[in-house]
C-alpha cells in the first residue's frame, strides 16, 4: 500500500512537470490556416501522452530505487503469476485511450483538413491556382490564371486560399512547406490537389521553415531540391505578377 501511494505521488509530480512542458512547448511558426489543425493535434497528443509516459516511468523508477537488492537476492519475491482485475483494467484503459485518439484528434482533424484542404469542395473555393511540377531536382510553379511560370521560387498572396496541383515529371518527390505543416507526394502520372490559406507574411530568407522542401528521396540532388517562398500582401502579389509577365514577354 505504501509502495502504491509513493508511486502515485511520483506519477503526479512527473505528470505536472510533463504537462508544463507540453503547454509551453514552442512549435515552429504556423503560417497557414491548415497548419493550426496539425499544431492543435500535436499539442493535444503531448498533453494526453504525458500521463501515460509518466505512469510507466514512475513504476520503472520506483522499482529500480525501492526493490533493488544489494547482491544476489537470498530469497525469491512473491509468486504472483497474474492478477486478472489489474490486467483487465489495463486492457480496458489502454483500449479506450487508443480509441479516443482515433476519434480526436485523428478523425476530427482529418475531417477539418479534408474540408479545408483536400476535398474538391475546398479546391473549388480556392481563388488562386498554382500548378507544381517536381522534377530531378527543381520545382516549377505555374500560375495558369496569369499565364506565368517560375522556377524554384513561390510567391503567394496572404489570406487567399491557394489550390496547388502537384505532379512530377520523373520520380516521386514530396511537396512540403514546413511552416504550412502538410506535405503530399508528387507522383508521376497523377495530379494531387492540396489547398493552403497562408495567413502570415514572411519569406524564406527570414523564416527558414517557410520554404518548399522535397521530402521524398529522389536521387542525388534531393538535398538541394529547395525553393524559396514568399507570402506577400495582395497588392504586392499583383505587382509581382505584372513584373513576371513583363519578364516573360521580353524573353
Amino acid at each position: 500500500m505504501k509502495d502504491a501511494l509513493s508511486v502515485l505521488l511520483l506519477w503526479l509530480i512527473l505528470t505536472v512537470l510533463g504537462e508544463i512542458l507540453a503547454l509551453r512547448l514552442p512549435l515552429p511558426p504556423a503560417m497557414a490556416e491548415q497548419a493550426r489543425v496539425v499544431d492543435e493535434a500535436f499539442r493535444y497528443l503531448w498533453i494526453l501522452g504525458t500521463p501515460v509516459f509518466t505512469f510507466v516511468l514512475s513504476i520503472l523508477l520506483y522499482s529500480l530505487l525501492r526493490f533493488r537488492t544489494a547482491g544476489d537476492p537470498p530469497e525469491d519475491g512473491p509468486p504472483v503469476f497474474t492478477h486478472t482485475p489489474v490486467a483487465t483494467t489495463w486492457l480496458v484503459i489502454t483500449a479506450l485511450l487508443a480509441l479516443s485518439l482515433v476519434i480526436y484528434p485523428g478523425r476530427q482533424g482529418l475531417q477539418v483538413l479534408l474540408e479545408t484542404s483536400f476535398l474538391p469542395g475546398a479546391a473549388e473555393k480556392a481563388a488562386l491556382i498554382v500548378q507544381v511540377q517536381a522534377e530531378q531536382w527543381a520545382w516549377t510553379f505555374s500560375y495558369p490564371q496569369y499565364g506565368i511560370q517560375v522556377k524554384d521560387r513561390l510567391v503567394l498572396p496572404v489570406g487567399r486560399p491557394v489550390r496547388f496541383e502537384i505532379t512530377s515529371k520523373d520520380v516521386i518527390h514530396s511537396f512540403w512547406i514546413p511552416a504550412f505543416r502538410i506535405k503530399v507526394d508528387a507522383v508521376p502520372g497523377r495530379t494531387i490537389t492540396l489547398v493552403f490559406t497562408p495567413d502570415r507574411l514572411g519569406r524564406t530568407e527570414e523564416e527558414p521553415t517557410l520554404r518548399v522542401q522535397c521530402a521524398e528521396l529522389c536521387g542525388a540532388g534531393h538535398t538541394i531540391m529547395v525553393a524559396s517562398v514568399e507570402v506577400v500582401l495582395p497588392e504586392q502579389f499583383e505587382q509581382w505578377i505584372n513584373q513576371q509577365r513583363a519578364k516573360q514577354t521580353t524573353k
Partner: protein, 604 residues
C-alpha cells in the same frame, strides 16, 4: 589454414559461377560484363556456386543425385567456418556475422554523422555518394534487426529451451545462414557499379532509373528474404514438433513464443517484399511497366506491396526483442513473469494487427483519402497489445527482489527507450500530425528509438544474459555496467535532438541542411561518435571475456528455463538425456517446484 578451405572453395565456385553467368549474357547480347542482365544471371549462378563450394555439395546436394552425403564434422573453432548443422554453431555464426554487419553499418553511420555535423558538404565528394552510404547503412541495419536476434539467439536457444536436440531441418538451417554472406558481399560491392541512392525502401520510379547498383541491392535483399522464409519455416516446424515431453504451449518460455509468432510473419509476409523487388528488377532489366505510369503502371502499387511486408517486418524485429527482455526479467526480479497468457495474447494481437496497418507509411503518398481513417484506427489500436508487454514487464518488476546485473540493467533501459519510441509513435499514427512529421528526422528519431533503443538494447541484454551459456565463460560485471551506462547516455544524446530538428523542418535522407538546424545536428554527431566508441568497447570486452574470462557455471542466474539446466556451453545434442517438463518456466518463489526434470549427469 585448412579451417578456411570451405570458404575459399565457396568464393572460388562463386566467382566461377558469376563469370559463367555474366559471360553467357555478354556473349549472347554483346553487352559488357557488368550490364544489368549480366549482373542478374551472374549473381544467381554465383550464389549457387558459393553454396555448393561452401559445403552444400557434400552435405546435401550429393543426395539429390543418389550418392551418399558426406558429413565431415570439424572440431573446435573450425566448425564455425563450414556448412555445419549443429544449431548452436549456426546460432554463433549468425550472432558473430551480424555483429560484424552491425559494426560496418555503424561505421557508415559515423560517416553520415561526420557529414551532417555542420551545414555544407565536407566529407563526401557528392550528394549521390552520401545517398549510397545512407542507403547501405539502412539496409545493413535492417538486416541486423531482422536476423540478429532470430538467427543468432533464436537458433542457439529455441531447441535448448524446448528440450530438443537440434532444429527440425538442420541442413536447411545451415543453408539459411550461408545465404547471408553473399548478400552482404553484393551490397558492399554496389559502389563498384555506381552505388544505389534509393534508400532501403527502393521506391520506383527512382529505383528503376538510378545506377545499376540497385540491381545488386534487389538481389541481395531477396537473398536475405529467402533465408528469412526458410528460417521461419524451420522454427515453426521445430516448435510444433520437437518440444520435449510435457512442454505444453502454456509452459513454453516467452522467448520461444516470440520466435514462434514472428516466424509466422517471416514465412507469410517476406514473399511480398521479394515480389515487389522482383517487379522493380523486371521493370529495369526486361522493361515491364509495373510501376511506370507511361506503360499503365502505378508507382503507388509498389508502396502497398512493399509495406505489406515491411510493416510486419518491424514486428519481426521487435517481438523477439520483447521476448528476450521478458525472458530476462523473471530470474532477476526473482518473480514469475506477470500475466504470461495475456502477454502471449498480446504477441498474437500484434502479429495479427501488423498485417493491416501498412498504409500508415503512406499517409502522404497521395493514396485515396478514404484509406486514412481505417489505417489510422488499426495503427492506434496496435498500441493495445503492445501495452500488454509493458503490463507484463511492470507487473514482474513490482514487489520484486531486483537483482541488478548487467542484463537486467539493460532490460530496464530497454523499457524506458521503447516507452519513448512508443509515445512518439502516436504522433506518427495520427494522420494530421503525420502530414507534417512524415519523412522528417522525427521519424528517424522514432525508429531509432524502437530499433536501437528497443531491438538492439534487447540483443545486447540477451548477449550478456546468455554469454555464460554460449561461451562457458563469464563477462566482467564492472565493465558490463560501464558499457551499459555509456551506451545509454550516448544513445539518448544522439537521437533525442532528432525529434526537435524533425519538428522544425529537417527532412530525412539529406546530405546537407539549412544553418538554423546546426545546433541539434552538431550535438547528435558528437554523441554519435561516443555511441560508436561504446560498441568498440563492447566487442573488445566480450572478445577478451570469451578468451580469458573466468569459467561460468551451468546456471549463474539461478534461472529455471531449460537452457540453464545443461552444461555451459551445452554438448552437441544439448542434453545427455532428454528432459521431461513438469511445471511452469517462471515458478520463482514457489517452493518445491521445477520447470523440468533433467537427467542426473547434466547441470550444476
Amino acid at each position: 589454414m585448412r579451417a578456411f578451405y570451405p570458404i575459399f572453395r565457396g568464393l572460388l565456385f562463386g566467382g566461377i559461377g558469376y563469370l559463367l553467368g555474366s559471360g553467357l549474357i555478354t556473349l549472347s547480347t554483346g553487352k559488357e560484363l557488368t550490364s544489368e542482365p549480366a549482373l542478374v544471371i551472374g549473381y544467381v549462378l554465383g550464389l549457387i556456386g558459393w553454396l555448393l563450394g561452401v559445403g552444400l555439395w557434400e552435405v546435401w546436394a550429393r543426395e539429390w543425385l543418389g550418392w551418399p552425403a558426406h558429413r565431415e564434422e570439424a572440431e573446435g573453432w573450425a566448425r564455425y567456418f563450414r556448412f555445419t548443422t549443429d544449431h548452436k554453431v549456426i546460432g554463433v555464426q549468425y550472432l558473430v556475422t551480424f555483429i560484424g554487419v552491425l559494426l560496418v553499418g555503424g561505421l557508415l553511420a559515423m560517416l553520415m554523422r561526420s557529414e551532417l555535423m555542420q551545414p555544407g558538404l565536407q566529407l563526401f565528394a557528392g550528394r549521390a555518394q552520401y545517398n549510397t552510404v545512407m542507403s547501405l547503412h539502412g539496409i545493413f541495419m535492417i538486416a541486423v534487426a531482422v536476423s540478429a536476434i532470430i538467427g543468432g539467439l533464436g537458433n542457439y536457444l529455441v531447441p535448448l529451451m524446448i528440450g530438443a536436440r537440434d532444429m527440425a531441418f538442420p541442413r536447411l538451417n545451415a543453408l539459411s545462414y550461408w545465404l547471408v554472406p553473399p548478400a552482404a558481399l553484393a551490397l558492399l560491392s554496389t559502389p563498384l557499379v555506381g552505388g544505389f541512392d534509393s534508400g532501403w525502401t527502393a521506391y520506383p520510379p527512382l529505383s528503376v532509373t538510378n545506377a545499376p547498383g540497385q540491381v545488386l541491392f534487389n538481389l541481395a535483399f531477396m537473398t536475405v528474404g529467402l533465408s528469412s522464409i526458410l528460417g521461419g519455416l524451420n522454427f515453426l516446424t521445430t516448435i510444433i514438433f520437437l518440444r520435449a515431453p510435457g512442454m505444453t504451449w502454456s509452459r513454453l518460455p516467452i522467448f520461444v513464443w516470440s520466435i514462434f509468432l514472428t516466424s509466422i510473419l517471416s514465412l507469410i509476409a517476406t514473399q511480398f517484399v521479394a515480389m515487389a523487388l522482383l517487379m522493380v528488377l523486371l521493370d529495369r532489366v526486361v522493361g515491364t511497366g509495373f510501376f511506370n505510369p507511361a506503360n499503365g503502371g502505378d508507382p503507388l502499387f509498389y508502396q502497398h506491396v512493399f509495406w505489406f511486408y515491411s510493416h510486419p517486418a518491424v514486428y519481426i524485429m521487435i517481438v523477439p526483442a520483447f521476448g528476450v527482455i521478458l525472458e530476462i526479467l523473471p530470474p532477476f526480479a526473482r518473480k514469475p513473469l506477470f500475466a504470461y497468457r495475456w502477454t502471449v495474447g498480446g504477441f498474437m494481437g500484434i502479429v495479427g494487427l501488423s498485417f493491416i496497418v501498412w498504409a500508415h507509411h503512406m499517409f502522404t503518398s497521395g493514396m485515396p483519402h478514404f484509406l486514412h481513417l481505417p489505417f489510422m484506427a488499426t495503427t492506434e489500436l496496435i498500441s493495445v497489445p503492445t501495452g500488454l508487454v509493458f503490463l507484463a514487464a511492470l507487473g514482474t518488476l513490482w514487489q520484486s527482489r531486483l537483482w541488478l546485473r548487467t542484463p537486467m540493467l539493460i532490460a530496464m533501459m530497454f523499457l524506458f527507450n521503447f516507452l519513448i519510441g512508443g509515445v512518439t509513435g502516436i504522433f506518427l499514427a495520427d494522420v494530421p500530425t503525420d502530414f507534417h512529421l512524415q519523412d522528417t528526422y522525427f521519424v528517424v528519431g522514432h525508429f531509432h528509438y524502437t530499433m536501437i533503443g528497443g531491438m538492439l538494447f534487447a540483443l545486447i541484454a540477451g548477449i550478456y544474459y546468455w554469454f555464460p551459456k554460449i561461451t562457458g565463460r563469464m563477462y566482467d560485471e564492472r565493465l558490463g555496467r560501464i558499457h551499459s551506462l555509456w551506451l545509454f547516455l550516448a544513445y539518448h544524446n544522439t537521437f533525442l535532438p532528432m525529434f526537435w530538428s524533425g519538428l522544425y523542418g529537417m527532412n530525412r535522407r539529406i546530405a546537407d541542411y539549412l544553418p538554423y538546424l546546426s545546433g541539434p545536428n552538431m550535438w547528435s554527431s558528437i554523441s554519435a561518435f561516443i555511441l560508436g566508441a561504446s560498441f568498440a568497447f563492447f566487442v573488445v570486452h566480450l572478445v577478451y571475456a570469451w578468451a580469458r574470462g573466468p569459467r561460468a557455471v551451468a546456471n549463474p542466474w539461478r534461472a529455471r528455463t531449460l537452457e540453464w539446466q545443461t552444461s555451459s556451453p551445452p554438448p552437441v545434442g544439448n542434453f545427455p538425456v532428454l528432459p521431461r517438463v513438469v511445471g511452469d518456466p517462471y515458478g520463482y518463489g514457489v517452493p518445491g517446484t521445477a520447470h523440468a526434470w533433467v537427467g542426473a549427469s547434466s547441470g550444476e
